[in-house]
């Protein structure tokens, strides 16, 4: 065996050199807020500059006052009072930078945020959930490793098709595909028999399948692939009786006040943009995520569903819409953190809050008019804000963003990095790159940055080229 063969052999086995980190966390709840959350109005608030007709873009620093948090000297944007009350349990990165400027292209930035690779990567890249659930395996054999809550299973247009690409298992294949739960209240429909079929009949039918399979030709019934196939069919049946199914019964099990605590602090008729209100879907998704962690799930992603120019993708009326979005996410997220903490789950559960990029001042009066995409270094000095529609952070900003972590080995009560108080609001202290942040998450879960699986005859790493470096400053020393 020459050296190369040896190397390939060892890579093939998914092993790599280096020390295996000790896991500080077992489960992940990844709160995904696509659309580009204006960090300047939320996690990294800037000086409040109220609307004044004719003000210059460069004068606009923040659209809301800052509020104190449980963490001394650390402020969030107004409207996040609930999350502020649990900030002593979390870490904020305020200096997440990206060399790649994604310009107008949300999808590429989302792909990057969910996979750590730039599109096109040349192979079908697995999403973070697939990576973690494959590397660590299931926590409970009858509970899916990767569950995705809050996004429609809909591939009716190309944009949605693209999204399925970076949320999916990539080259890992269907075994690592997410279990999609579009609507938490409806649960995972395939854990229930279809209408008209009851459990009794279902079992008799499966028993019949087993009987007739046993009667098939010997060659077929002894083949490993065929026996695996029948075994997985039985696993699926077992999952129907497993604790995961009970997780969906939250209406029955939880107290009404608990359920209410996970609901948004706003109703449809109070909204400026009524076409895009997800109701209780996001909040109940977080409640379900907590219950799934309790049942033994490994990785759960909860999304405030993205749609172009909807939700957090705000290109006009940014100030008012941001107020409304905060009222939708603040209570449920804070309740999740409190709940996990009270149940003693937060230490071993990593909660992540992420968006594909931050926002800055627009260089043009309205979206779509930017001639060269979005000018990241724009200071807004030439933009005149003529009306309230233009008052807000409308421009995509890949240069600096925030990201939040609670529990799961991350420090409790930390702000890492700093961004400029004036335009352009780039990172001015401790800039960190996504590759290293991902390496840190993996490290806390006991996964090495060069953990890899082979595809097309070559290793494919969980951080790009295996080169991510965990950021020690973010992780707690205990654990």
């Amino acid at each position: 065996m020459n050296r190369r063969e040896f190397l390939l052999g060892s890579l093939a086995a998914g092993a790599a050199l280096g020390q295996q980190p000790v896991a500080k966390a077992d489960s992940v709840i990844f709160i995904w807020l696509p659309g580009g959350v204006a960090h300047t109005d939320t996690w990294d608030p800037k000086k409040h500059t109220p609307y004044r007709q004719g003000m210059k873009g460069s004068e606009l620093l923040g659209t809301c006052p800052s509020i104190p948090t449980k963490l001394d000297g650390v402020f969030l944007g107004k409207g996040l009072e609930n999350i502020a009350s649990v900030m002593d349990k979390g870490t904020i990165i305020r200096s997440l930078v990206s060399q790649t400027k994604f310009g107008a292209i949300h999808l590429k930035a989302q792909y990057y945020a969910n996979t750590g690779y730039l599109f096109p990567a040349g192979v079908k890249v697995p999403s973070t959930g697939a990576v973690i659930s494959r590397t660590l395996g299931r926590r409970n054999p009858n509970v899916p490793g990767y569950i995705y809550i809050g996004r429609d299973i809909d591939s009716s247009d190309e944009e949605k098709l693209f999204i399925s690409e970076y949320l999916g298992p990539g080259f890992y294949g269907v075994n690592y595909a997410p279990f999609m739960i579009p609507e938490p209240a409806k649960g995972l429909s395939t854990l229930n028999a279809v209408s008209g079929m009851n459990m009794d009949r279902l079992d008799r039918r499966q028993e019949y399948l087993k009987t007739i399979t046993g009667l098939e030709q010997k060659e077929l019934t002894t083949a490993n692939k065929a026996t695996d196939y029948i075994k997985v069919m039985e696993d699926a049946r077992a999952m129907m009786d497993s604790p995961v199914k009970k997780s969906f019964d939250y209406f029955k099990d939880e107290k009404p006040e608990t359920i209410r605590a996970y609901e948004p602090d706003i109703t449809t008729d109070q909204l400026m943009d009524r076409t895009y209100f997800n109701g209780n879907r996001f909040g109940h998704g977080l409640l379900l995520a907590r219950r799934l962690v309790e049942s033994g799930a490994r990785f759960i992603q909860v999304e405030y569903q993205y749609g172009p120019f909807k939700g957090f993708d705000m290109h006009e009326n940014g100030q008012q819409r941001m107020v409304e979005m905060k009222r939708q996410i603040d209570k449920p997220i804070a309740q999740l953190i409190r709940d996990l903490d009270q149940r003693g789950l937060l230490d071993r559960t990593m909660v992540v809050i992420a968006s594909e990029f931050g926002r800055t001042i627009a260089s043009q009066p309205a979206a779509g008019q930017e001639p060269d995409g979005f000018a990241e270094r724009h200071t807004g000095s030439e933009l005149v804000i003529e009306n309230e529609k233009m008052y807000g952070f409308h421009s995509h900003f890949s240069s600096c963003n925030s990201m939040l972590f609670f529990g799961g080995g991350f420090k409790r009560g930390l702000v890492h990095g700093k961004s400029s108080p004036e335009h352009p609001m780039v990172a001015i202290e401790n800039p960190v790159a996504l590759i290293d942040v991902r390496a840190t998450m993996f490290h806390a879960l006991g996964i090495k940055p060069d953990q890899n699986f082979v595809t097309e005859g070559r290793p494919f790493y969980v951080t790009k080229d295996g080169k991510g470096v965990p950021i020690d400053a973010l992780l707690s020393s205990i654990g």
Binding site: D154, S156, V174, V194, T211, L220, V232
Partner: protein, 757 residues
């Protein structure tokens, strides 16, 4: 490169004149190339003024007519029968030009190619003919007289040949492999009861001749391999274009594979699939299989071409020298990638620019072709296409025959199939070479090689897990003997098309699963990719809980199985024939009878009618983007209307006899989809009285299974129409049919159905 060469002592039989050929990609036109050669060398004697021997070379027509002694000067398509070619090559006396020096070899080549491609007076000779001509001149000599079976057996240590599979196994294999779906009961009966000794070969022939079905089975594979997509630009990201129709047509016509690939890559080929550019954020973005909007796209296009058509994995060399394969220093790959761009590419090593530009160059030696690289993007692509498809390219033919081998036997002669490497020889290199040469000499005829493989004993050996080969990435050089085919899981398309066929004994071509515009939870779980933004030449055939849950409890699979019309025949034996192409054994028959005798658990319900819309239809609104069309839309109902695949939608309406609308179309929105998924136009309805229109859900396209209707639109073009109620008639269920459905479910969910064995 010596290891790239064939195992057989077969130097390319390149005639001398080919060695300094015109660049293989160069275009030939009568006025640009042919006429000047003739005028310079022949017109002195053979012109209108001075018709020596009665021969005049002034026009293609006169060339064909020929002179007094020698017959036609030019026979289109046949250079070796054309007097002018024979004379200038000196094969016939006197050698022409008489007394002067012979023509330059490249001039002779151009003339030969022009004659072979049809000797037309066109300024651009038919590119496809020209390509075939050139290729036929460069084919390798015939391979040794042997066969797949001999070459396979030569490697065995155990010399006893394995047994062939029985007729049922063969029948299913060949149906699923050629047309992608199992046989009907009738087709199975016909084959199984035939006493003819050559019936297997006859069936292979019969299936290969079902051109549309054959093409329908190939299309999804290549859609994935090309990254074919349905919309030009996705959220600002250009994709590879929708190649579905082009693929389908190419396979229906059994287009020579080299021509197909040249069409795909070379924009000057007449059959090149062209796409309109996409627009995103004010920028025009090129759309197609080959993209070069930027550096990354260019090198990925090059890597895709290398992977799909030369089975060569170069992606690692995009940013640095390939760590695991010394064949691929980054510069070698960048030189290749330069052929896919208008300019040479800059060496960018791990995102660091070098200001070093690598001259474009084809990475393999292709003897007898020019190394001159043209300077326009289009010409470079022509060159790339010519080099890739050239018979002397050591990897092109091997890549595709290996794909065929894997498709029909389960494991390639080299594995992984996209990563051919000199340091990892194929498991049976003699067979790989032999298949490749035979394929080239057949005129790159895919059906020829498929026929050869399917008719081999090797393909027809009985499935035997004890003999089955396996590929283990950590022991890549472990030999494979092919004494048994590998067990292969049906693809999503094969499986679902076969379930439909089993249940209803027919499969309408336009309802085949590969045509579904969208994927579903079921098809995704079975391995159909949700998107094709990255190319892929292999689906995983592993099983997963998410998949089993869809088979157990998914409404889609349930509806496909339980809506089969065959269930009404109440005959379990028929279900065995339909699903497994064989009658049940005695024990199996007893088991099914026992199952049917159980207490009835099935739901029973009488037919019921549910009115969803009474007379409160909203007023009509003109549709902004469809002039003349008025829409009355009932939507966002508090209670969506559930439907099943056997239910019937109805609407009661009256058409004004004085002013009937030109067209009436009903459309439906369903849960989870924003747009209207189903529509039905009402054809020539009677006027002046209340009519009840009934629309069985089974007739809607795409296939309706179960779901909930959330919106119902009544669209009319001009005229007057009234509606008073609309809703659904729910089909009655029959308890025996339900239990028979359970049996059919078990049969289709069994390994015997789910795998090709």
């Amino acid at each position: 490169m010596s290891s790239e060469r064939s195992r057989f002592p077969m130097k390319l039989a390149l005639p001398a004149f080919c060695l300094i050929a015109s660049p293989a990609f160069a275009q030939i036109g009568y006025n640009a190339q042919i006429k000047p050669i003739l005028e310079q060398n022949c017109s002195k004697c053979h012109s209108a003024a001075d018709r020596a021997s009665g021969f005049d070379v002034s026009t293609p027509a006169l060339l064909q007519k020929g002179g007094l002694k020698d017959g036609p000067g030019v026979v289109p398509g046949k250079p070796d029968e054309s007097a002018i070619i024979l004379h200038i090559e000196g094969k016939r006396e006197p050698r022409m030009p008489r007394g002067g020096p012979p023509l330059a070899p490249e001039q002779i080549t151009v003339l030969r190619e022009w004659v072979a491609a049809g000797a037309s007076s066109d300024d651009f000779v038919d590119r496809e003919k020209l390509m075939v001509t050139r290729r036929n001149n460069r084919l390798p000599p015939a391979p040794p007289a042997t066969s797949i079976d001999e070459l396979i057996a030569a490697k065995w240590t155990n010399r006893t040949p394995p047994a062939l599979c029985d007729d049922v196994a063969f029948l299913r294999r060949v149906y699923l492999d050629v047309i992608g779906v199992i046989p009907t009961i009738e087709e199975a009966r016909r084959f199984l009861s035939s006493p003819k000794p050559d019936k297997r070969a006859a069936l292979i022939e019969e299936l290969l001749a079902r051109n549309s079905d054959y093409a329908a089975h190939w299309t999804p594979f290549w859609e994935e391999a090309l990254g074919s997509s349905t919309a030009p630009v996705t959220g600002g990201i250009p994709n590879h274009g929708n190649h579905r129709d082009w693929l389908f047509r190419s396979f229906v016509a059994n287009k020579p594979f080299d021509v197909m690939v040249a069409e795909l890559i070379d924009p000057t080929m007449p059959g090149h699939p062209k796409f309109r550019d996409g627009l995103a954020n004010g920028k025009t973005l090129q759309v197609g299989f080959i993209l070069s909007n930027n550096h990354t796209e260019t090198i990925q296009s090059a890597a895709n071409v290398a992977q799909v058509f030369m089975a060569t994995s170069m992606k690692c060399a995009s940013c640095h020298n390939h760590f695991l394969n010394s064949e691929w220093p980054q510069t070698r790959f960048m030189a290749f990638a330069g052929l896919f761009s208008a300019q040479d590419l800059e060496l960018i090593r791990c995102e660091r620019k070098s200001n070093q530009f690598i001259p474009a160059k084809f990475p393999f030696e292709v003897p007898g072709t020019s190394s001159t690289v043209p300077t326009t993007g289009e010409e470079r692509l022509s060159l790339a296409a010519a080099m890739i498809t050239d018979p002397a390219n050591p990897r092109f033919a091997k890549a595709i025959v290996n794909r065929l081998w894997r498709r029909y036997l389960g494991l390639g002669l080299f594995e992984p199939i996209d990563d051919y490497r000199n340091d990892r020889p194929a498991t049976n290199p003699e067979l790989l070479d032999w298949l490749a040469v035979d394929f080239m000499r057949s005129g790159y005829d895919l059906k020829h090689s498929i026929r050869l493989i399917l008719n081999s004993r090797t393909y027809q050996y009985r499935y035997d897990p004890a003999e089955e080969d396996h590929f283990d990435v950590s022991r890549p050089n472990k030999p494979r003997y092919y004494r048994s085919p590998s067990l292969r899981k049906l693809t999503a398309e094969q499986l679902l098309d076969s379930v439909i066929l089993a249940g209803s004994q027919k499969l309408e071509p336009e309802k085949r699963v590969y045509l579904d515009k969208t994927t579903t939870a079921l098809t995704r779980a079975l391995g159909r990719p949700a998107s094709r933004n990255e190319i892929s030449t292999a689906r995983s055939d592993e099983v997963a809980v998410v998949q089993s849950l869809e088979l157990l409890n998914g409404e889609e699979f349930h509806d496909l199985v339980y809506s089969g019309s065959l269930l009404e025949k109440a005959d379990p034996e028929l279900l065995y024939l339909a699903a497994l192409s064989r009658p049940p054994t005695k024990t199996e028959q007893n088991q099914s009878v026992k199952y049917l005798e159980q207490a009835v658990f099935a739901r029973t319900n009488p037919p019921a009618e549910k009115v969803w819309i009474d007379n409160n239809l909203p007023a009509g609104e003109p549709l902004p983007n469809a002039p003349g069309v008025t829409r009355r839309l009932f939507r966002d109902a508090n209670a969506p209307l559930p439907y099943g695949p056997k239910d019937v939608l109805f609407a009661e309406g009256m058409i004004d006899p004085q002013d009937p609308p030109k067209q009436i179309t009903l459309q439906w929105q369903v849960v989870g989809q924003d747009s209207f998924v189903y529509r039905k136009s009402l054809r020539n309805p009677e006027t002046g009285k209340w009519l009840r229109f009934e629309i069985p859900l089974s007739e809607l396209t795409p296939r309706a299974s179960s779901g909930k209707i959330t919106g119902w639109a009544f669209d009319q073009t001009g005229g007057k129409a009234e509606w008073r109620k609309a809703g659904i008639r729910i089909a009655q269920t029959n308890p025996t049919a339900e239990l028979l459905g359970d049996i059919l479910w078990a049969l289709t969910a069994s390994p015997e159905f789910q795998y090709i064995h």
